[in-house]
């Protein structure tokens, strides 16, 4: 078979294999040699030269994916890629076996549901080698994105999921509840739960637990109350169904509504510094003490 004696005549899969050996500066030079090499460089893996950078993908414009590379605390430059470009990048990267490297990957997802773009993003993230992935979800994840999340609860990397997830079935489908915490929101939300996956290295007391029924609250809280010290926060893990039931139970109780000028939304009930729950020795009721930064502000009996 014939092989062109010119670099730009090489089959794409061969030129890509050469390009992966090149540092970024050489790739940029190669890119403006001709259109064939421009395509070959674009098809090669993205090479992030500077540590402590992050990639932000924002799909606010349907069909477009905005990718930002930049430090967390500095203003970031951004590049907008069409979903097809990202898709081709994923495809070629898989064939070639190269990866994208970044310290932190941040994906922001708005309420515009576009399953195709969602799938491409999931594919893209799978091919990344990153220390931390932060995913902001509004609305329900598409099936592929859901699979991606489920596959990565094994802490392939530190991953945090933030924002509101409405799909309680999805929450229930997470198989490793010990790695997930449903945290109390720190500001008003209208619906849903905040879900965080626990990062590595958290201490035992911060390891969340999933409360699957209201009955379990008694036992778990008892264990916690024995370990609790002053000023120590406890994050509760609550199964969505149990939480829903709990919420319905509590909705009728006036004492769970705040009336101290900070608003009256139910969610704000959770905006305390910490919540201490103790069994009442004289009855089967639970006594719940709500603290803010200044100390105990409310006691509730269940």
């Amino acid at each position: 078979f014939s092989m062109s004696a010119s670099l730009d005549g090489l089959p794409l899969e061969l030129s890509c294999r050469i390009i992966v050996y090149l540092p970024l500066i050489d790739r940029l030079s190669l890119r403006i040699c001709c259109s064939a090499l421009e395509k070959a460089v674009a098809a090669s893996d993205l090479f992030l030269p500077t540590a402590n950078r992050r990639i932000t993908i924002d799909r606010s414009v349907p069909g477009d994916v905005r990718v930002t590379f930049g430090g967390i605390c500095e203003s970031s430059e951004e590049i907008r890629l069409h979903a097809d470009t990202l898709s081709n990048l994923c495809h070629l990267r898989r064939r070639i076996g190269s990866k994208i490297y970044a310290r932190e990957l941040y994906i922001e997802r708005n309420e515009v549901i576009d399953a195709r773009v969602d799938n491409v993003i999931a594919d893209f993230v799978q091919g990344c080698e990153v220390e931390t992935v932060l995913i902001g979800l509004f609305g329900d994840p598409s099936p592929n994105f859901r699979d991606f999340l489920l596959q990565n609860v094994d802490k392939r990397f530190d991953m945090s999921l933030t924002e509101t997830i409405l799909d309680e079935e999805f929450l229930r489908s997470l198989q490793h509840p010990s790695e997930i915490e449903f945290r109390s929101p720190t500001f008003t939300i209208s619906t849903g739960l905040f879900l965080h996956m626990v990062t590595r290295g958290d201490t035992l007391i911060r390891t969340p637990i999933t409360i699957k029924s209201i009955d379990e609250i008694h036992e778990i809280v008892k264990n916690f109350s024995e370990k609790l010290e002053d000023e120590q926060n406890v994050d509760f893990g609550v199964d969505p169904l149990a939480f829903k039931e709990f919420k319905m139970n509590m909705a009728g109780k006036k004492e769970w509504r705040r009336d101290d000028g900070y608003g009256s939304d139910y969610g704000e009930t959770w905006a305390f510094e910490h919540v201490r729950v103790r069994e009442q020795p004289e009855s089967e009721n639970l006594r719940i003490e709500l603290f803010n930064a200044f100390g105990l502000i409310r006691t509730v009996t269940l």
Binding site: F1, S6, S35, E77
Partner: protein, 167 residues
């Protein structure tokens, strides 16, 4: 035991079984043809056709394989911490490839790719990358006979697109 390899220009090469096995493609073909190291008859009665490799290129491939036939399987760390793939080309390999013009390197690379000889393929890829390294675009174009089909406006647009990754 020896294996017969036949190139596109009908040249027959008789090589050691171990050398033949260095090519994943040849290994698969031998397996498909029920040729085994312990069965001399199968080796004698069959030859492996390699229609994508010429006599001249095959000779170079065999020379490389002869040198590396006793190498331990290498566990290469394909990517360094900065995400760049790295491959160390040994002194012997550098010497082996240094006199090849780019056209011959491409032919050898194509053959290594077709025959699936990873070590040779990586050596050549890294060697070509070394030729590119440190050069400006016009120097690269001159060295590799590249006809630039991009307009100045297109170049400007590409530079703009890649500005994000320039420190």
């Amino acid at each position: 035991p020896n294996v017969k390899l036949v190139t596109s220009d009908n040249e027959e090469f008789v090589v050691d079984f171990r050398i033949a096995k260095m090519s994943v493609t040849v290994s698969r073909l031998m397996e498909a043809m029920n040729m085994s190291e312990t069965d001399d008859a199968s080796l004698l009665s069959n030859s492996i056709p390699l229609p994508n490799v010429t006599k001249a290129v095959m000779a170079r491939v065999i020379e490389w394989c002869e040198k590396h036939k006793n190498d331990e399987p290498k566990e290469e760390k394909e990517n360094d911490k900065r995400g760049r793939t790295t491959h160390v080309v040994s002194d012997w390999d550098k010497e082996f490839l240094k006199n090849d013009e780019f056209g011959r390197l491409c032919q050898l690379m194509g053959a290594a790719n077709y025959l699936e000889i990873k070590g040779l393929f990586n050596d050549i890829s890294q060697t070509i990358a070394n030729m590119i390294h440190g050069k400006k675009s016009d120097e690269i174009a001159e060295m590799f006979n590249i006809h630039c089909d991009l307009t100045e406006a297109e170049k400007k647009e590409i530079r703009k697109k890649t500005a994000w990754c320039e420190d």
